[in-house]
């Protein structure tokens, strides 16, 4: 958001620092967690604008301060800001009225990291399956070894959840965590 100014003096009179939870995977362009809860007015425009329906609203189990804030749920759909129905855009960040989601350069965005549980993975248990590497929108985030097993590269992965969404194992071998997330700078 252009022309933003910090009311620095006002920050000094805060008695309690802003509450922040580390475990929520936020939509692309989210500002740092401590200010996200305060800038998000819970209008719901982001989930209404999301074409892949991956944005859900947090419930009470995520803490009172986060109720009704948007979070990524890869089980419903992947975040398709890199490829797919969002058509190379970040519709949620473009539509956000307060700047809690910033329409930043996509190269700066990392929602989190996909974590593989090898005990549940079909490929690591003698079956043929490389769905995760086929669905991944990035060329190098998931590489395949010579004996046809997927290897995840945490630093390249942007946490879009395409692999988690597609994983056919039951229960799923992949989970999306907020670890390693890169948030938009604010202000």
């Amino acid at each position: 958001m252009e022309g933003a100014a910090v009311l620095g003096g006002l920050r000094l009179i805060s008695i309690v620092p802003p509450a922040a939870r580390a475990d929520l995977v936020r939509p692309p362009g989210a500002v740092e967690e401590a200010y996200f809860n305060l800038m998000c007015i819970r209008c719901g425009i982001c989930f209404e604008a999301c074409p892949s329906k991956t944005i859900m609203l947090a419930g009470f189990e995520k803490g009172a301060a986060s109720v009704n804030t948007p979070m990524i749920n890869p089980l419903i759909g992947p975040c398709e800001y890199l490829r797919g129905r969002c058509e190379d855009a970040m519709r949620c960040a473009e539509a956000c009225p307060t700047g809690a989601l910033q329409n930043v350069d996509k190269a700066q965005v990392k929602l989190g990291t996909a974590k593989l549980n090898q005990e549940l993975c079909l490929a690591y248990n003698g079956r043929e399956c490389l769905v995760c590497s086929e669905m991944c929108p990035l060329p190098d985030a998931i590489t395949v070894t010579e004996d046809q097993k997927p290897v995840f590269h945490n630093t390249i992965c942007t946490g879009c959840g395409a692999c988690v969404n597609a994983c056919p194992a039951n229960p799923r071998a992949l989970t999306l965590l907020s670890e390693g997330e890169r948030r938009a700078r604010w202000p």
């Binding site: 009179i13 805060s14 305060l38 209008c43 609203l57 009470f60």
Partner: protein, 261 residues
């Protein structure tokens, strides 16, 4: 005759609020407009509710010109129309009007709220919590947004989410006061207090003709905002929702709506 009139205006207010609820909740399905009473995006223009904006600025302690501009249209509308939104559009007001109509005893004497300083105390506490403790509950502070979002969220995601619990909290607060009608609206709702505080022009408000008035106080007993109409100052009248209950309640036809002044 008076009862029939009352019934008609009440029905119209329920209809306008219901139609707005349908439009706002269903528009996202077509992609025509997104949002609700907290913020709304339509045809490239984004507007923000003044309460949500103030809470955001006090909580995050940041400000920008673009944000202030997006509150300009709602603020001008509120300055002119006052709490017209609360009477004719707000879905929470619609729900409370329906439940009160179904449960209230006839001729229940409520009495007017003379100064109603409680509502300013509640708003001050809400703003102070955001400023000093970085604590805001935007959902609870913008109750109509909760109702709009329940419908939209269910249409788009197939689940209800946390909003139903928030609506239940508001319902409990108001069930305690069902006999008195819209206590949530006239005293508790921070959004309503902000709207009435901004209502400086306040077009189309009722005036009591003291030569015709028979001092029966019917208008004050019917007023959902419990305004002391027979001795109302301009300040007290800022809470008026233009519901027209006072006009039809008056047996002497002493209450008239004047567009200006």
């Amino acid at each position: 005759m008076a009862m029939m009139k009352t019934h008609r205006f009440k029905a119209w207010r329920i209809v306008t609020a219901g139609v707005t609820l349908s439009l706002i909740s269903l528009a996202p399905l077509s992609g025509a407009a997104y949002g609700n009473s907290s913020a709304l995006t339509f045809a490239g223009i984004t507007v923000i509710s003044p309460l949500d904006l103030v809470l955001m600025i006090l909580g995050a302690k940041t400000i920008s010109v673009a944000l202030l501009l997006s509150a300009a249209i709602p603020i001008v509308g509120i300055m002119l129309g006052g709490r017209f939104f609360c009477g004719w559009i707000c879905p929470v007001g619609m729900i409370l009007t329906c439940s009160h109509a179904a449960t209230a005893r006839k001729n229940a004497v409520r009495g007017a709220l003379e100064k109603n300083l409680e509502k300013y105390a509640i708003l001050a506490a809400v703003l102070a919590a955001a400023l000093f403790f970085n604590f805001t509950i935007p959902s609870l502070y913008s109750p109509p947004g909760v109702v709009y979002r329940i419908v939209t969220y269910y249409m788009l995601r197939g689940v209800v989410g946390a909003d139903l619990a928030i609506l239940a909290i508001m319902a409990i607060l108001d069930v305690l006061a069902l006999r008195y009608g819209r206590t949530w609206c006239n005293t508790l709702c921070p959004l309503g207090t902000v709207i009435s505080s901004l209502s400086v022009v306040n077009l189309a408000r009722p005036h009591v003709d003291h030569e015709k008035c028979v001092m029966c106080h019917s208008c004050e007993e019917r007023c959902p905002m419990r305004i002391p109409l027979t001795r109302a100052t301009k300040g007290a009248m800022m809470a008026c929702t233009k519901c027209l209950e006072c006009v039809v309640a008056c047996p002497a036809e002493a209450v008239r709506i004047r567009l200006f002044g």
